[in-house]
């Protein structure tokens, strides 16, 4: 059972534990009464894992989406989940069909629905969330908003902590605007800022980028010195943190960074991915280059921003009944075995090495 991790409610950063394998997942019943929870963006990756945690905990989950993936669709099964578990939680999950990008439609479809809590997982701009916030102001116990660590202003000083300066010009400024609106409207909210989320079913080819090159036996071009530190966070840990916010008074009005307690260097990710793929890390060639020397056009040559970018999850570890279960080793193995090898077998990999070839030829490295 999970009791071994309860100690973390004191916020003790315990020695790194190896996460449990998926087969040992235990269905925990929610403390207190089950809640009726609206989840927008609940059929993909982090939203999907969150939906599972909430439903497994006994809450009634109402999804709001365009109906492309109905409850019970096999693509909504999480690796390691049994058919029985899937069916059990589906019994507590339903869908209201509508389009969140159409504010009027969203309001029309939801206005007569009451919820204890709302998880707004896929709002990008304030316009996406404003109709929902306005509709449920005064009607909901908790509004949980999926923000991003991308809002932090770049700095030489790390880690990014919740009170730190944010960048009003950031690509994620829509999240900042929404956070500000939540504060202004005095609705009981919590905002979650993950760094880089990874794990099986990731729709962002993050760890996949590394696995592709390692599987193909290709050198891995890494921008900069290879020492850039980044923050990975396993999707399961994120889902648990988000669920842990429910019913927690301390979390009201708070922002939480969610990621692993450790950051990892770019070169370190290459080595860790090699390890997860069952290859000797020393056998993978890493080629460093200065991204300023290249014009990749619209293509992304590397899946992460070439700067130090990580946060501290200490506040969440202290305030929430939450602990981190996946370290990098276990997390990447999960992603590799439960996702990458399947995609590889089904020919679903991107394998776009065009920017790699640009770098490698310039650096005089043979493939």
């Amino acid at each position: 059972m999970d009791l071994g991790f309860v100690g973390s409610s004191f916020g003790v950063s315990s020695p790194r534990r190896v996460g449990r394998c998926r087969q040992q997942q235990v269905v925990m019943m929610a403390e207190g009464s089950p809640k009726r929870v609206l989840v927008i963006g609940g059929t993909r990756f982090s939203g999907l894992y969150l939906t599972k945690v909430l439903a497994d905990s006994g809450h009634d989950v109402v999804l709001f989406n365009r109906g492309n993936t109905p409850v019970g669709d096999k693509s909504l099964m999480v690796p390691g989940e049994t058919e029985e578990e899937f069916e059990a939680r589906n019994a507590r999950t339903s869908t209201i069909i509508g389009d969140r990008t159409d504010g009027d439609d969203m309001v029309a479809k939801l206005k007569d629905e009451e919820f204890d809590a709302i998880y707004d997982n896929n709002g990008r701009e304030l316009d996406d969330s404003k109709p929902l916030i306005d509709l449920y102001k005064g009607r909901v116990e908790h509004y949980v908003y999926m923000s991003s660590a991308g809002v932090y202003l770049k700095s030489d000083i790390m880690p990014h902590c919740e009170p730190d300066a944010t960048d009003p010009k950031s690509r994620h400024k829509g999240k900042l605007h929404t956070e500000a609106y939540l504060i202004e409207q005095e609705i009981p909210f919590t905002s979650i800022r993950p760094t880089y989320i990874y794990g099986a079913l990731n729709y962002n080819p993050l760890e996949q980028w590394f696995f592709e090159r390692i599987a193909a036996g290709r050198p891995v071009p890494v921008p900069g010195s290879g020492l850039n530190l980044t923050g990975l966070g396993h999707v399961q840990d994120l889902a648990k943190a988000m669920a842990a916010v429910l019913g927690n008074e301390k979390a009201i009005g708070q922002v939480y960074n969610i990621q692993d307690e450790k950051a990892i260097t770019f070169d370190g990710i290459v080595r860790a991915c090699a390890q997860a793929a069952g290859k000797d890390p020393a056998s993978v060639e890493i080629v460093h280059y200065d991204p300023k020397d290249f014009d990749f056009g619209k293509k992304k040559a590397f899946p992460m921003r070439p700067q130090h970018f990580f946060t501290s999850p200490q506040k969440a570890l202290t305030d929430l009944d939450w602990s981190i279960e996946f370290n990098t080793e276990v997390g990447l193995k999960d992603s590799y075995e439960n996702d990458f090898v399947i995609k590889e077998k089904n020919g679903k990999l991107k394998n776009d090495f065009s920017t790699d070839d640009m770098v490698l030829s310039e650096m005089g490295v043979a493939v």
């Binding site: 000083i157 010195s225 130090h308």
Partner: protein, 333 residues
Amino acid sequence: MAFVAGGGLGFGSSVGGPAKSQFVGTRVPDGKVGGLTARWNMASVLIVNAPSGGHAFIGYHLANQLVAKGHEVSIFNAGEEENATKKNPCASYGDLTEKGVSVAYGDPTSEDVGADIDQAFGRKFTVIIENFSKSAEEISPMVKHATGTGVEQFLYVSSCGIYKKSDEVPLQVGDPVNEKAGQVAVEKLLESSGLNYSSFRPIYIVGPKAAKSDYLDYFFHRIVRKRPVLLPGSVINVGDQMTSVTHVGDVASMLVDAVGNQNASKEIFNVVSPRYVTHSGVAKLCAKATGMEAQIVSFEPEKLTVELKKFFPFRNQHFFANPGKAMSLLGWE
């Protein structure tokens, strides 16, 4: 000074407020029962201090803070008085003796250290803080003395230098350490001694009364003379290595928070600032402090004719650690 404001830049966490626990922690982590329950208004503390080196001035600040809290403080200093007092921190010990701190010089590693201490101070100590030994052989006589005289708490200043290099940082207590390091042997000895011990692992420490102020001087010297600030490593993203610079006042305050605190028992803590900074970041912050510019230039350490550590103050790698445990268990900020 402390441009990297010690601790308080905070995680915005709820471990806030001015409450530095003066009595034993009431929160007892899993598995810890019983132990010290008395409220320690005044402990008799013995600080075993080094005469010089990076850690020496911790002893000075520790003594000051403990006296301010109302404890009785004695310092048993390694080295010879005449030599040691030629420079800081021992040169400033007059400040301490004025406040009632007793100071004696001697050899903490001697088999007769127990008798020497009794002769020098003639009192029973509740707490011993060992800030000198770097090996099990050196500390063994003091440990024997502590167990023999029923010392209630034994604090040791160790080092983060014992952690094995890793791709994943910050370093956390529990991460692999270099088994050959002297401080590792000391920590193991303390663990098996039966003493109520705690070990504190610092990184780079700065502040007043330093015996060794090389860390920031390296940057200041070059900036004020308008010379290039040479940083080791990659030409791309020069000075990207991240490190930890902690103010000595914060290092001392963590040990002070541990005195009389049940939560510290048999625990190891990283005693570092929760904020980390890159080498180039240090250069820029130093420049800002002087009101001048830093001209940052990279160099290859392999091309030096001397060992890198004789030239550059920081390790050529990421080197920082997580103090989260101390913040949670000791309420340290």
